[in-house]
Structures are given as C-alpha cells and as structure tokens.
C-alpha cells in the first residue's frame, strides 16, 4: 500500500513539475524530469514498473499537450522497457553511470520523437535548433544525480 502511494505521489509530483515548469514554460532548456524518473524506476523496480510509469506519464502528457497523440507514451514506454531490461548489467550507484544512461536515454527519446514527427510530416519539433536540443539534453544529464538522490531519500 505504501509502495503504491509512493509511486502515485511520484507520478503526480512528476506530472506537476513537468507540466507547470517544463511543457508550458517559455524556456526550452528545462530538464526532462519524466525521463530521469523512468530511468530511476528502471534501476530500482525493473522494466515492468518503468514501462508502466512511462506509459501513464506519456499518455497524460499527450492528453494535455498539442503534440502527436500517443507519441510520448510510446517513446517513454519503449525507454522504460529497454532500460529496465539492460540496466542490470551496470553499476547503478556511480554518478557517471547514471549520467551516461540518462544521456543515452535522452538521445533515444529525441531520436524516436523526431522520427515520429518526420514520419507524420509534422515539422513542429524539428524547428528547434540543434543547440537547443543539446542544451536541453545537457541540462537533463546535469539534473540526474540531484533527482536520483531526492528519489533515493524518498524511497
């Protein structure tokens, strides 16, 4: 019961932070909190929890934004599943490992999202300059150890 409540609380907090500060903020350099949380869940709980969290968070963000419906849900589900499967081989306590994994996850996230927009002939996201994407990725990586520590303390 405590675990379910904790996960629900994490989900709500993550949604609020991402929506209020990230998705609708004028700054495009806000870290991808959802991605970091999914990687953390993939580390701690495994693929099932990560993919479920990714799916629910993705579908929520898709419902509340004007992007392609289902695009973020599928991307975050895939990331949750893949990283949940492969993270067993890594030493998860090291900050460098965490940052590398989140960096790779960010690259995969952007690659899937861009491909989806490219396939659907919508160039909305492709209008972002590359330096914006790069800075956003670096910010996400930079915030990784902090969010990991917070989540670890919260249990």
């Amino acid at each position: 019961m405590r675990q379910i409540l904790s996960q629900c609380l994490t989900y709500i907090c993550c949604c609020l932070i991402q929506f209020c500060l990230g998705e609708y903020n004028t700054s495009k350099y806000f870290p991808n909190i959802a991605l970091i949380v999914i990687i953390y869940i993939a580390f701690t709980k495994g693929a099932l929890h990560a993919e479920l969290f990714g799916f629910f968070f993705g579908i929520t963000i898709d419902s509340l934004s004007i992007d392609i419906f289902g695009s973020k849900a599928i991307t975050l589900t895939i990331i949750g599943y893949i990283f949940g499967k492969i993270l067993i081989k890594f030493n998860k306590d090291q900050i460098i490992t965490q940052c590398t994994i989140v960096f790779l996850a960010s690259i995969l996230y952007l690659a899937i999202i861009h491909s989806m927009y490219y396939i659907s002939s919508s160039n909305r996201i492709l209008n972002y300059p590359y330096y914006v994407i790069l800075i956003a990725t670096i910010t996400t990586v930079a915030f990784t150890p902090i969010i990991f520590n917070i989540l670890k303390k919260l249990g």
């Binding site: 929506f19 209020c20 609708y24 903020n25 580390f43 701690t44 709980k45 495994g46 693929a47 099932l48 929890h49 993919e51 479920l52 799916f55 993705g58 579908i59 898709d62 419902s63 509340l64 934004s65 004007i66 392609i68 419906f69 289902g70 695009s71 849900a73 599928i74 589900t77 895939i78 599943y81 949940g84 993270l87 067993i88 030493n91 998860k92 306590d93 989806m116």
Partner: protein
C-alpha cells in the same frame, strides 16, 4: 546497490502497451479525440497561465468574458463566411451564364471596377455645384474621366456625383454632374424611358428629351442609362420633382430632377477605377 526486479509478464505488458500506443497514434486525427484534447488544452492553458502570472479574480472573469465573446464572434463570422461562400458560388454560376450570353449576343462586357475612397477637402462656395477637390490622385491610380460616386444614406445606394477632370499626384478635381453644360444619358427607373440630364449649376437637373407620351411623374427615380460611357448603368442620379408639359409641335417634354447627393454633405467620394485583369 539497487535491487533489480524481474516480472514474467513484463514483455507481454510491454507489447500490449506498445500496440495501445500505436492505436492512440492511429486515432489521433479523429474528431472526438481532437475535441477532447482541445477542451483539456483550453482548461489547462488557463490554469497554467495562473501559475506563471499572479492574477486577480477580476482578471480571470475578464478572460472568461473575452473567451466567451471571441467564441460568439467566431461563430458569427463562420455563419457570415458560409453566407458569402454561398453568394460567391451563386455569383460564379451567374457570371458563367453572363459570359455565355455575351458570346451569344455579341455584347460588350461590363467593365469591372475597384473602389478608391477619397475625402473631399475643398469645395469652393462660388463653384458649389461645379467642382470639388478630393485627396486622392495619380499615385492612387486615379486618372481623368473616371466616374465619382457618393453613398446616399437615405437610399442606401451609390449615386452619381461627377467625373475626374484634372489629376495631380495626391489630389484630383471632380467636375460635378450639376455643372452647367454637363450632359449625360439617363433613364427613368423601371420605365425604360431614355432621356438626357443636363446640369444647371444648382441642385436641380434639367431632364430633357423625354418622349411626349411617356408616363413620367413626380417622384420617379432617375438612373444612369446604359448608353453612358462614364458611369455604370443603373446608378442613381436623382428624383423627378416637376414635369413640364411639352410645347405644341414638340415631340419631347422636359422635367426637373433633384440630385441625390445634395441631401448629403459630401465627406467621402468613391472613385471607380477600371479593374486591370
């Protein structure tokens, strides 16, 4: 070290979620989905706006009123747009028919025109019914001989005012239809009686060459005849105020007509410029 969990159904759940996401992507363009998402976005955008900007309750109400007003306005514009589209469609059909008839009867086509609104800024007291000066000239595409009209509020129609006599870069001189020695062909509205209107340096026109047996009465409207080379046919000119009896031996009678533009103070004139196709 973190503890790693494994579930035997994680692959199956992943497949289910993956296909559900694909299904979501495939139905993203359905009207119901679009409608729901727009509704959520509308609600959310207002709430997000609140988080980024501290607003009072009064501001919120103002925004809600604005949204309501804009939606109402949008609906009205959509209705008007539909009406205009219908009118345009009808117009296209009529125009096609008109072109066919022109070819069939070998008639000269009507000149298409565009309107230039000009403001009158000089009207000399000594030449009150002779000339006016307007604030548009050659730089606005106006040239000598172009017809000048005025909007009659009482009749809710355009009526003849004069024609351009002199043009300069930013101003033009308009010779009014009421100037003496000005002659132009007119006709009695709905009676198909062609005659001539002659200026008199007053607000009264002399209508000449009315056939002796023509049924012309006080109150009949005078419009531009199809014989006019300056004005388009059917433009209002004036109203018959007095019909004079024909002299013995004459085949024509005359009448007096009051011009329509005299009822208005001339603020804005409309110059009709031939449309370049």
């Amino acid at each position: 070290m973190y503890k790693q969990h494994h579930h035997k159904y994680e692959d199956i759940i992943f497949c289910l979620l993956f296909f559900f996401c694909l299904y979501c992507i495939s139905i993203r363009n359905k009207s119901l989905i679009i409608c729901i998402r727009r509704f959520i976005c509308n609600i959310l955008s207002t709430s997000i706006y609140k988080t980024t900007k501290v607003m009072s309750f009064k501001d919120d109400l103002a925004i809600i009123r604005t949204i309501k007003f804009l939606r109402k306005e949008n609906t009205e514009y959509k209705t008007r747009n539909k009406q205009l589209i219908d009118q345009l469609r009808n117009y296209i059909v009529i125009y096609e028919e008109y072109k066919k008839l022109l070819q069939l009867f070998q008639i000269k086509p009507i000149k298409n025109t565009t309107s230039v609104f000009a403001r009158m800024f000089i009207r000399d007291c000594n030449e009150w019914y002779k000339y006016i000066i307007i604030d548009k000239g050659t730089s606005h595409g106006i040239h000598n001989g172009f017809p000048v009209l005025i909007f009659n509020k009482q009749q809710n129609e355009l009526c003849a005012l004069g024609r351009i006599q002199e043009t300069y870069k930013t101003v033009s001189k308009v010779i009014l239809i009421t100037k003496s020695l000005t002659l132009f062909p007119v006709m009695i509205k709905n009676k198909n009686i062609h005659c001539l209107a002659e200026g008199n340096d007053s607000n009264i026109l002399n209508i000449t060459y009315i056939p002796k047996d023509a049924n012309v009465k006080h109150g009949d409207k005078i419009i531009i005849s199809s014989l006019s080379s300056i004005f388009q046919c059917g433009i209002l000119v004036g109203i018959i105020t007095k019909v004079l009896k024909a002299k013995s031996g004459d085949h024509f009678k005359t009448a007096k007509a009051k011009v329509y533009f005299d009822n208005n103070i001339i603020h804005q004139a409309i110059v009709l410029i031939p449309f370049k196709s």
